[in-house]
C-alpha cells in the first residue's frame, strides 16, 4: 500500500513536471510570436478609432507586467495557471477563466464522449478484424478503417451539414437551439443539447474510431498468437470465453495506456469541426483566440488547459493500469 502511494505520488510528480514543461513550451511559443499583448490590444483599439501613441503602449506594457524579464513572467503565469487563473484576455479584456469556464468543460465533455463512442465501436470491430479468418470481411474492415483516416473529419462534417441543410432544412449546427442558447441549465436545455451534440460527437469519433480499430486490431493480433491462448483452448476453453478472458483482457492494458494520446488526437480535430459546425458555445473561443484575433493570452490558456486534460487522463490511466494489471503492479511494487 505504501509503495502504491509512493508510485501515485511519483506519477503525480511526473505529471506536474510534464505540465511545467508544456507550459514553458506554450509560453515560449506565444512569446516568439511577433507583437505582444499591449501592442495587440492597442492596435485593436486604434482600429476602433482611438488615437494611440507609443507612450500608451509603454504604459500598457507596464500595467500588464510585460516589462519584466521573460522567466519572471513565465513563473507568475504558471503559478496562476495552476490556480486556474489565466489573467485577462488580450482583446476581449475579460477574465479568461470566466470566459472559458463552462465552455471548456462542454468541449472536454464532447471530446470524451467521442472517445467513448470510438472505443465502443472499435473494440468489437477490432476484435472481429483480428480474429476473423474471413479474408473478405478482414479486407473490407481494413478499407473502412482506412477511409476513416483518409476522409478527414472536416469533410465529413461538411457533407453531413450540407446534406441536412438541403434535405432537412436544418443546418444541425451549434450546440443549442436558439431559444436555449443563453438559457440557464434545465432539463429541456439538456435535452436540446443532447439532440445537437450527437453530431460533433459522431464526427469527432469518426477518425478516432478508425485509429482505435487499428490499435485494437494490432494488439489483438499480437495477443491471439500467443501460446497461452493455445494452452487455454487445450484446456477446453472455447468461444467467447477464449476471446474475452484471454487475448482481449490482455490487450486492454495498452489500449487504456493510449487513451491520453487518443484524446490528444481528438483535441486536434476539435477546432476545425467546431468551425464548420459553428459550435459557438464550445469551440468559437478556440477559433476566435487562435485564428482570428491573435489573442495570445487566451490561446495560451486554452492550449494549456487542453494539455492539462491530456496529462490528467494519462495520470488516471496509469493509476488504473497499476491497479488492474498485475504485471504493471509488479513492476511498480518490485
Amino acid at each position: 500500500m505504501l509503495q502504491f502511494a509512493r508510485f501515485t505520488v511519483m506519477r503525480a510528480g511526473l505529471a506536474f513536471f510534464t505540465l511545467i514543461m508544456v507550459s514553458l513550451i506554450v509560453f515560449s511559443l506565444m512569446e516568439l510570436v511577433p507583437g505582444d499583448c499591449a501592442e495587440r490590444y492597442l492596435s485593436f483599439k486604434s482600429s476602433q478609432g482611438s488615437v494611440i501613441t507609443l507612450a500608451d503602449i509603454q504604459a500598457e506594457r507596464v500595467r500588464l507586467g510585460l516589462d519584466k524579464p521573460y522567466l519572471v513572467r513565465w513563473g507568475s503565469w504558471i503559478i496562476n495557471a495552476f490556480q486556474g487563473e489565466f489573467g485577462d484576455s488580450c482583446i476581449l479584456r475579460l477574465n479568461i477563466s470566466e470566459l472559458l469556464g463552462q465552455k471548456f468543460w462542454l468541449s472536454l465533455g464532447i471530446c470524451l464522449a467521442s472517445l467513448l463512442l470510438a472505443y465502443l465501436v472499435a473494440i468489437p470491430v477490432g476484435i472481429i478484424a483480428a480474429t476473423s479468418k474471413n479474408p473478405y470481411l478482414n479486407n473490407s474492415l481494413r478499407l473502412v478503417s482506412y477511409l476513416g483516416l483518409a476522409m478527414p473529419n472536416f469533410l465529413l462534417a461538411l457533407m453531413i451539414m450540407l446534406f441536412s441543410t438541403i434535405y432537412f432544412g436544418d443546418t444541425l449546427t451549434g450546440l443549442f437551439s436558439k431559444e436555449f442558447r443563453d438559457a440557464a441549465w434545465s432539463w429541456d436545455r439538456v435535452k436540446d443539447f443532447l439532440g445537437r451534440a450527437w453530431l460533433p460527437v459522431f464526427i469527432l469519433a469518426w477518425s478516432a474510431t478508425a485509429f482505435a480499430i487499428q490499435t485494437v486490431r494490432a494488439l489483438m493480433s499480437d495477443e491471439v498468437g500467443k501460446l497461452y491462448v493455445v494452452a487455454a483452448s487445450a484446456r477446453g476453453v472455447t468461444g467467447r470465453a477464449l476471446l474475452w478472458r484471454y487475448p482481449a483482457r490482455h490487450a486492454l492494458g495498452p489500449i487504456i495506456n493510449s487513451l491520453g494520446f487518443d484524446l490528444n488526437r481528438i483535441f486536434n480535430e476539435l477546432p476545425i469541426v467546431a468551425l464548420i459546425l459553428t459550435l459557438t458555445e464550445a469551440g468559437s473561443l478556440l477559433i476566435e483566440a487562435l485564428a482570428r484575433s491573435n489573442d495570445q493570452q487566451l490561446a495560451g490558456a486554452i492550449i494549456f488547459m487542453l494539455t492539462a486534460a491530456i496529462v490528467g487522463i494519462n495520470f488516471v490511466t496509469d493509476i488504473i493500469l497499476a491497479l488492474t494489471d498485475p504485471r504493471v503492479r509488479r513492476s511498480i511494487l518490485g
Binding site: 511526473l14 513536471f17 510534464t18 514543461m21 508544456v22 513550451i25 506554450v26 511559443l29 506565444m30 510570436v33 511577433p34 507583437g35 479486407n139 481494413r142 482506412y146 477511409l147 483516416l149 483518409a150 476522409m151 478527414p152 472536416f154 469533410l155 461538411l158 450540407l162 446534406f163 441543410t165 438541403i166 498468437g225 491520453g260 494520446f261 490528444n264 488526437r265 483535441f267 486536434n268 480535430e269 476539435l270 477546432p271 476545425i272 468551425l275 464548420i276 478556440l286 477559433i287 483566440a289 487562435l290 485564428a291 482570428r292 491573435n294 495570445q296 490561446a299 495560451g300 486554452i302 492550449i303 487542453l306 494539455t307 491530456i310 496529462v311 494519462n314
Partner: protein, 382 residues
C-alpha cells in the same frame, strides 16, 4: 523426360540461389510484391506523384489567376466525346458554348452549347499554351488542349481557373509540403531519438520526458496559434515554406520515439556486440550495422507519417490558415467545397476531394504493405 526434369532442377536451383543471395531490400520487395492491395496502392501513388511532378505539362492551363478563363467561370466540366448526332470523328471534341447572365436567368450563368458541326472544338495533343518553367527551362508545350477556345475537363471555379490544372498542381504542392515537413521532422527525430537511443542513461530519460511533454500538446491548436501570426505581408511562397517547417516541428516526437526504440533494440543485437568485440569504433558500427538495419524501418515510418503531414496541411489550409492563392494545395481545393451553393450547383468542385482521398489511401496502403514486408516475423506468422 529426364532432360526436362534436369532443367526444372536447374531452374529451381537458380531460384534458390537467387533467394539465398538476395539482400534484405530484395527480400522486402519480394514480400511487398505479394500484397495486392499494397501494390495497387503503389501504382496509384506513383501515378499521382508523377502527375504532380509533371503537372505543368499534363495540364493545359496555368493553375493560377493568370490562366483563368474569364468567359467560363463556375463552368461545368467539358467531357470530350467522339460521336454525336452529326456523326463521329476520330478526334475527340467538345462543343463551343456561350454563357449569358441576365435578369431572366436570375443572374446565374446559363450555358448554351452549340452542338453544330462547325462549333466542335477538337482536342489536340502537344499543343502550345501557357508558358511554364520546369527544371529551370521554359516550356510552353502542354499534353493536350483544344484547337479553339479552352477545354476544362474538371470544370472551372468561381474565378474561371481550370480545376483540372489546379488539382494536379495541388497534389504537387501537398506532396512538397509533406516532403519538407517529413524531412524536418525526420532530421529532428534522428538527432533527438538518435542521441537518446545511442547514449541511453540519464540523457535518454531527460530527452524522453521532453519528447513526452511535447507529444501531449495537441498539435493543431498549437499550430493554429502559430499560423495565425503569419504576417499578411508574407508572400505565398514564404507562407508555404513556413507552414512546412511548422509541420515538421510539431511532427517529430512520434518519429523520435520510434527511432529511439529501433536504435535501442538494434544496439543490443549480438552482431553489434560482435563488431564491438572486433574493436570497431562507433562510426563503423553506425555506418555498417545500425544505419542499414535502420533504413527499412525508417522508410516505413516515413511513408506512414507522410499522409498525416498531408492531412495536417489540408486541415490548416481548410480553415484558411495555411496556403493561399496563387499556391494551390489540396487543402485550398477542399476549402472551396464548403458552401451549400457548391453542393447544389457546382458539384464538380468535389473532384479534387476524390484525388485527396485517393492520395491518402494510397499512402496508407503502401505504408501498411511496407510495414508487413519489413516485419521480420512476417514469415513465421504464417
Amino acid at each position: 523426360m529426364t532432360d526436362t526434369a534436369n532443367i526444372d532442377v536447374n531452374v529451381d536451383q537458380k531460384l534458390k540461389e537467387a533467394y539465398f543471395t538476395a539482400s534484405q531490400g530484395q527480400l522486402i520487395w519480394t514480400r511487398f510484391k505479394k500484397q495486392t492491395a499494397a501494390m495497387v496502392g503503389l501504382g496509384v501513388l506513383a501515378l499521382l506523384i508523377l502527375s504532380g511532378i509533371f503537372a505543368p505539362f499534363l495540364t493545359p492551363y496555368d493553375p493560377t489567376i493568370a490562366g483563368r478563363n474569364k468567359d467560363y467561370m463556375n463552368g461545368a466540366p467539358n467531357i470530350p466525346s467522339f460521336c454525336d448526332d452529326n456523326g463521329c470523328s476520330l478526334r475527340p471534341f467538345i462543343y463551343s458554348y456561350d454563357r449569358t447572365r441576365s435578369i431572366q436567368t436570375n443572374f446565374r450563368w446559363v450555358t448554351e452549347t452549340d452542338t453544330s458541326l462547325e462549333a466542335r472544338r477538337y482536342v489536340v495533343f502537344f499543343t502550345q499554351g501557357d508558358k511554364f518553367t520546369f527544371a529551370g527551362i521554359n516550356f510552353s508545350t502542354h499534353l493536350f488542349g483544344v484547337d479553339k477556345g479552352k477545354i476544362h475537363i474538371f470544370g472551372t471555379d468561381s474565378t474561371g481557373k481550370d480545376i483540372y490544372s489546379r488539382t494536379l498542381q495541388a497534389i504537387n504542392t501537398s506532396l512538397a509540403v509533406g516532403t519538407i515537413g517529413v524531412f524536418i521532422a525526420f532530421v529532428l527525430a534522428l538527432m533527438i531519438g538518435g542521441v537518446s537511443g545511442y547514449y541511453g542513461g540519464w540523457i535518454d530519460s531527460v530527452l524522453q520526458m521532453i519528447t513526452d511533454a511535447v507529444r501531449t500538446i495537441p498539435t493543431i491548436p498549437l499550430f493554429m496559434a502559430l499560423a495565425a501570426f503569419i504576417p499578411e505581408t508574407w508572400s505565398a511562397e514564404t507562407r508555404f515554406l513556413f507552414i512546412s517547417i511548422i509541420l515538421g516541428f510539431v511532427g517529430w516526437p512520434t518519429l523520435a520515439r520510434r527511432v529511439r526504440t529501433h536504435l535501442l533494440t538494434e544496439r543490443n543485437q549480438e552482431y553489434v556486440l560482435a563488431a564491438q568485440l572486433c574493436g570497431a569504433r562507433a562510426g563503423h558500427i553506425i555506418r555498417r550495422h545500425l544505419l542499414p538495419s535502420f533504413t527499412s524501418y525508417i522508410i516505413v515510418d516515413l511513408v506512414i507519417s507522410f499522409p498525416y503531414m498531408v492531412l495536417s496541411e489540408t486541415a490548416l489550409s481548410f480553415i484558411g490558415l495555411g496556403l493561399k492563392d496563387p499556391v494551390n494545395s489540396l487543402g485550398v481545393m477542399l476549402q472551396q467545397v464548403t458552401s451549400a451553393d457548391v453542393l447544389l450547383n457546382y458539384q464538380w468542385y468535389f473532384i479534387p476531394v476524390f484525388f485527396f482521398i485517393t492520395l491518402v489511401l494510397a499512402f496508407v496502403f503502401v505504408g501498411d504493405g511496407l510495414r508487413d514486408a519489413a516485419d521480420p516475423y512476417a514469415d513465421t506468422k504464417k
